[in-house]
């Protein structure tokens, strides 16, 4: 792979299509693409009694908090006027963009502009000209529909990804300002949000990654990993179960550098939250182990917001929820505080009224000069932050050479040369074993050679076989370890892994549950696929082969459902070599997640399978025909490839020319050349039989109109696995009968 010098890399990262693959960034000598802090913007003095939840009046909050240097400067009368102007700039950029697109969500940006302003202008450490600078603070807009808030902030802060023309192209074809925040379209956006609750869970993953890397790489004399993760989430996110799952873990892990702003505006699409959401969020978060602060005046209480952030930072052993009471659509005289401002343009008349109301004389998309000037400092400041961090890293590198090299490889996503040689290989003489066990051999082999490899299971580690034996548990007090215990929280697990994957290219998270329970986490898995997060999903107990647990636990339609999903690799390996092959492809695909469906039951090591074969998705494992003219082609995957192989043995005894093909990954097969595909599935051979212990849906693609797909188009059953296979007709005899019928 070619090396890329890091300034070029930084630029390349600004565009989705030119982003090099992880392996392409394999340049040990460059450094300037990493980078940061020590720039003394906000120095926080810990508050003495800040660990207890308290509700405060705005006035109380204002007097009780010592302002930092930056806060003091901004607190003066002149400056407050400028801040208000800046906040209104944010509001009107959102209003104008939504108005021009005649589509979008102005309400949240109008209400959250004050906290957004304080975060991006006063609190967060970032470099607008290198959105990928490693040690930047992360920001996640979990309430993704309010994306114009983030676009306006990125625009003001000087990110090249959101220029005025981008704002004017909000929600238009190929714009960098799509309808919800998309990390793969807009540098500066960390993760892809919109589906509610995902963002807060992603943020937990980002904060986990920071805590883990800090624990591994920080030294008493150098905190080389040191950033916060900020989130804004709304009532919608709060109602979603995934948010509760992820926040329970955040509390358990004590993610003190995770600070979530809850936009408490009392309005959701259906109207006042009173109609469906009357729980006490504060109490719930206390139960989850969070520090909770209430900012009563989120509309104009700048000092209250600042004080809350200060307090949150002082609480180091718990994540903090800052409940910020705001008015949705703040400033709109007739639509504020109503659902009508949530998801529609204000309309020309109301835009005018809002301009009047907030004293905004400017043209659409105008940023007043003083506001522009005020924000301009973030470009040099950001460059300084990165340069200082780079200098710090240089010192660190000199003193801690090995650690620096490892950290750099994680930041840049470099895979150690020859890593793939660690993967185990097998011969037909190797012992039969369940692919879940073979998977564990791969996981443990990979963890030894891949510094960014970490993960775990949703309370099924001993069933999924996912423990890394050389590591302990990632826990509040042992964050340097790599076995993550997710509890029974599949959905949160998937989204947390998305956050980990998108924190640093070289972090390779895997997560596990029973294959059927992908149903619980499918929304997060889809976002892995969409947002190019290379999570590895280790999904065991992949068919009726799990036996007695019965139909609630037996996947049927799941293979088909992932084969239909874009940008995700669905693997169903048949034995040890195929399992290793699946892991090889999965590790290489840093921008495409992988799902491995693995057996509970023992499977033989089949002749003809190979790691290289897996990379082609479908390949011949045995064939006694010549001239690409078998009498019949038997296709199978996973545990049923053995059945196909046995059937072939029998048919060959009777003189048939039989080819057996493993279709371990349909997506990879689709990507092969037409010549290759024809060499495996010659169009002249229409006698084709497939066997897979799952839905036959989609198999017509491989067996064709005249072939036969043997599978299961009903729910499973509770009984010993062998019995179910027999009763459902997933047998050697069934394959032989079908093959004879088609090839006679």
């Amino acid at each position: 792979m070619a090396s890329t010098s890091s300034p070029a890399l930084s630029q390349a990262l600004l565009s989705r299509h030119s982003l090099p693959s992880a392996a392409a960034t394999n340049n040990q000598s460059s450094l300037s693409s990493l980078s940061l802090p020590s720039f003394p913007r906000i120095k926080i003095s810990p508050l003495s009694s800040s660990v207890f939840h308290r509700r405060r009046t705005p006035s109380g909050a204002r007097t009780s908090v010592r302002a930092s240097a930056a806060v003091e400067a901004l607190g003066s009368t002149t400056e407050t006027a400028l801040i208000e102007k800046s906040v209104n700039t944010i509001r009107f950029l959102a209003i104008d963009a939504v108005e021009k697109a005649n589509s979008g969500h102005p309400g949240l940006p109008m209400g959250c502009a004050p906290m957004g302003h304080i975060l991006y202008d006063e609190v967060m450490r970032y470099n607008p000209k290198n959105p990928y600078w490693f040690n930047r603070d992360r920001f996640v807009l979990s309430a993704g529909h309010g994306c114009m808030l983030q676009y306006a902030l990125l625009h003001l802060a000087g990110y090249d990804s959101v220029r005025e023309e981008d704002l004017r192209n909000f929600r238009q074809w190929e714009s960098r300002t799509p309808g919800h925040p998309e990390n793969f379209e807009t540098p500066g956006v960390e993760v892809t949000t919109g589906p509610l609750g995902q963002g807060i869970a992603n943020a937990v993953g980002l904060a986990l990654a920071e805590k883990h890397l800090a624990a591994r790489f920080n030294k008493p004399d150098s905190e080389i990993v040191d950033h916060y993760t900020y989130v804004i989430l709304g009532d919608g996110c709060q109602m979603e179960g995934i948010a509760n799952e992820a926040c329970s873990l955040a509390g358990h892990w004590g993610l003190g550098k995770l600070i979530a702003f809850y936009d408490d505006n009392h309005i959701s699409i259906d109207g006042d939250t009173e109609i469906a959401f009357t729980e006490s969020v504060d109490t719930r978060f206390e139960g989850l182990g969070w520090h909770v602060i209430w900012v009563k005046n989120g509309n104009t209480g700048y000092d209250e917001i600042r004080a809350a952030i200060k307090e949150a930072k002082a609480v180091k052993d718990k994540p903090t929820l800052i409940k910020v009471t705001t008015t949705i659509g703040y400033g709109s005289p007739n639509k504020a505080n109503s659902y009508s401002v949530h998801g529609s343009a204000l309309g020309a008349k109301e835009v005018d009224a809002t301009r009047q109301n907030l004293g905004w004389p400017y043209e659409p998309f105008h940023v007043p000069d003083d506001v522009k000037k005020h924000w301009n400092r973030h470009i040099p400041d950001g460059a300084s932050l990165e340069a200082e961090w780079n200098a710090k890293f240089s010192k660190y590198e000199k003193k801690y050479k090995e650690e620096a090299a490892e950290l750099k490889s994680i930041i840049k996503g470099e895979l150690p040369i020859g890593w793939e040689k660690a993967l185990p290989t097998y011969t037909p003489d190797s012992a039969a074993d369940a692919t879940r066990n073979l998977s564990q051999q791969c996981l443990n082999a990979l963890a030894k050679v891949l510094p960014g490899f970490l993960g775990g299971s949703a309370d099924l580690a001993s069933s999924n076989m996912t423990l890394l034996k050389m590591f302990g548990d990632f826990q509040k007090n042992t964050p340097e370890e790599r076995n993550v215990r997710f509890g029974v929280r599949e959905h949160g697990m998937g989204a947390i892994c998305n956050g980990i994957a998108l924190h640093s290219t070289g972090l390779i998270p895997y997560c596990a549950t029973f294959f059927v329970f992908t149903d619980y986490m499918r929304a997060a898995m889809r976002i892995s696929a969409l947002s190019e997060a290379g999570v590895i999903y280790v999904m065991t107990h992949d068919s009726i082969g799990l036996g007695e647990d019965g139909p609630t636990h037996q996947p049927i339609e799941h293979l088909a459902s992932f084969r239909a999903m874009p940008n995700i690799l669905m693997f169903r390996p048949a034995d040890g070599n195929e399992t290793a092959g699946a892991y090889k492809v999965a590790v290489l695909n840093r921008k495409r997640p992988s799902v491995l469906a693995l057996s509970r039951q023992k499977l033989p090591q089949l002749p003809g399978t190979s790691i290289d074969g897996v990379a082609k998705g479908g390949y011949t494992i045995s064939d006694n025909s010549s001239g690409n003219k078998p009498d019949v082609i038997l296709a199978g995957t996973g545990s049923e490839l053995e059945i196909a192989a046995k059937a072939a043995d029998e048919l060959r005894k009777e003189g048939k020319k039989v080819r057996v093909v493993s279709f371990v990954s349909w997506e990879l097969f689709d990507e092969q050349s037409e010549e290759y595909k024809e060499s495996v599935l010659p169009s002249a051979v229409t006698a084709r039989v497939s066997i897979e212990a799952g839905s036959t849906f989609g198999w017509e693609k491989i067996v064709g109109s005249r072939g036969k797909a043997i599978g299961i188009d009903r729910f499973g059953a509770s009984a010993p696995a062998g019995k179910i296979y027999k009763e459902f007709g997933i047998t050697v005899e069934a394959v032989i009968a079908a093959a004879k019928e088609l090839s006679s």
Copy 2:
């Protein structure tokens, strides 16, 4: 449909396969299948200060609670010994069945036997000989892996579904005692559990149904609907997001007759819950608006458990969580309190040790005579309960004729004669409209004629168009209304609807969100399909046609993913007639859920579509060929059927013989005769083009190896809908080009 007399019905209901369809129970005169209470088993005196949460020591609890008559009787020394014997019977039935199957989960039944005993022997009102008696208390084992607890209890209580031979056949082929509780296999089991968190959410649905029906039908002089819903859930359920969603709603709705036992045993599969679950569940539930009680000694504290239930019943405006601290595998000297007893047989040696430890001299599966005798009373008692309720209903019926008839129709699942005539029909001259709006016309038409029709949206009522205009909101103080406001809780919504559907055959719940967010609720939808809950899923914004919201909101693979799922009907109607047709089939399918994918955008009313056509799943809407020999067949669904029709018009102008087929429901088409299918898709015609704004995965089944499927095999994009259609090539021109290529 034939009438069934109700005793026969009661019997018929005991078997899955002979269960008549809803319409088959259309017998207005019979009553004895309904039935109960007033049998004074446990009369509860409200506690004076019971609405506040308190933690109590066992001793404190014992002295502070007044025992009911039944409790007093059972509290005597002799009786306590018998109760312990009964509790140990439950434990050993579980141990023995798991041991014989060499598969299963003994730990929970051993720990929860005391609360299980008290529930089924002292508290719950049911008739073992008619598990479907309407006014029975409902019990849900949300921690479904512990199913041997429930099977043991059903066995002791005298249910015919679980005889000794059934216990001996635990987890075997075609047994009534599958690996997790399945309502469709085992009468007495209310819902299907195992996938964690589903059961507690189902229970919320059951309790909602009771509260709704009670509000509609109870009279000052007759509480004709009056039962409790009890649940046992474990740590696993508590960690799942779905449980938090559903419990937040239960608190919001004030479901006072929902009583949940939280089996607080501190062990999950991965070991001590300390490794992943350290939140305060009590505090969280207080935040959710529940009454919370802690029973510290769940292993032997019978009086504590009784007192907690009494307290819970006294709190009428909140659901109650009784946290019961237990020891998993109680009684096993070497495995209790460890994960090893969670999901594996104890092994012969440990079974012996446990027999020794608990003083159990009996053979496997033995129920001691005194225990048998003690439980035997539930058969006559249950019959009395039902008979008394029947007598009560007779009185009610005389005084409140109309209400009684309506309630009876809900209990029996009768659809009013001619109900389907309420569905709107359209002609090509009718105004173009989005199918989501046409759906709203159907929903409102159906709500007028179907007394058990109710539902709502996950905070998208005004986008999904699901409000029933003649009804108000189902809320804590207006439970008689039918618009259910689920908030942004898709997963909880689906599972709650499963509970509603399985409460009474005539309750027909619908629920709604954007089609893409089926990903959030897929686990609940799968259980609808598996457990034969005829929920109607109203899924709008069904393609890239939603436009600007972008790829996070645009379903691609979702149609395919449901077409692959067993026992669920996936509809994608093209216009008004097809929408009405989909609702007609959905309402008739009370044992198979339906998913309706509906457009955000306007669609014309197409010539040739019909309600009757939809029932066939695929049907010709226009054809200018003869002799079943078109030059080309154009297939489409939903919003793309219009494109197919337009392409056909153009092609016909050029002299082509073109058939246009709507494939509105693939499952229904599959069920048609071979003759019918051949009449629609003649095998001789291989020139076939399909168009659908979704994944092409699976379309080979219809277009064949030589046809062409036009679709979208990538993620969507954020832009106005028309632009995306054009850029993605979902156009009339593309269909024409493909048709010409294939038919030339």
